[in-house]
Symmetry: C2
DNA sequence: CAGGATGGTTTACAGACGTAATCATAAGGC
DNA sequence: GCCTTATGATTACGTCTGTAAACCATCCTG
């Protein structure tokens, strides 16, 4: 069950807010960023419903939507697929790539170092 | 200029072999892995041509194809886009994610550590 | 009660994608 | 020279995507 690019923007809104959101809430949250008509958002919500990526519960004359799949799971399948396709599944290859192409930020480096130490301690 | 999933398999073949390949070469290289008819591969080659992702030079009655875009560039745009969409552009966030979901391999850890040291030395 | 506002449901439609079959053409074999 | 064969070019076609408009039910408001 694939979530498309456009759909993912809707999912991100639902993930960010932790309470169920109406279609209009989603529109508002996306305004300025996606510049979609309300109709578009409604289409996306319906497609996500059909895919069972989200659920809707009635609230008076409207619905409130909430995610059924966890962001972490989504992030993982996307990330793992890229890692496998482009880096032969090697995390370090990916980091090396970024360190060459982009210059890691100081923060990135500090955090990576901390992570390394933590992994040491776990051993 | 987006390279689709199917197209990327063709590109990978052209990137792997460093000399221009005929349509049939590509078919052979993909056999067993993609199980496509020759017609399918030719369609993909043509779409890649149209997108100017590859070039073709005549070789008698056939063409030899070679990539116009560099794999590293492709890898980078794909990776960067994922990093931005899902990790707020933070490389360390991505690594943390993998370290939690997948257990990094010893090799990954060793290489990351080496990379960290190298970054230190560069400073 | 009629008409606009509000929110959901259905339909639309062009372009990308995956996957090919068919058509055309040139070249080599008989 | 004609027929088969290899190859590229054209056409096909269903599905998915992005982006909505049109339609429909309902509720509030004057």
């Amino acid at each position: 069950m694939r979530i498309s690019e456009a759909e993912s923007h809707v999912m991100e809104v639902l993930w960010r807010r932790h309470t169920p959101q109406s279609a209009e809430d989603v529109c508002v949250a996306l305004a300025g960023q996606q510049d979609w008509q309300e109709a578009t958002v409604k289409t996306l919500l319906n497609r996500l419903l059909k895919k069972r990526a989200i659920a809707a519960e009635r609230d008076g004359r409207r619905y409130l939507y909430r995610p059924l799949i966890k962001r972490a799971d989504y992030v993982h399948t996307e990330s793992k697929s890229l890692l496998d396709r482009l880096y032969g599944g090697r995390v370090s290859a990916l980091v090396v790539h970024f360190s060459q192409r982009m210059k890691l930020t100081k923060k990135d480096i500090a955090e990576l170092r901390a992570l390394m130490e933590e992994l040491d301690r776990e051993r």
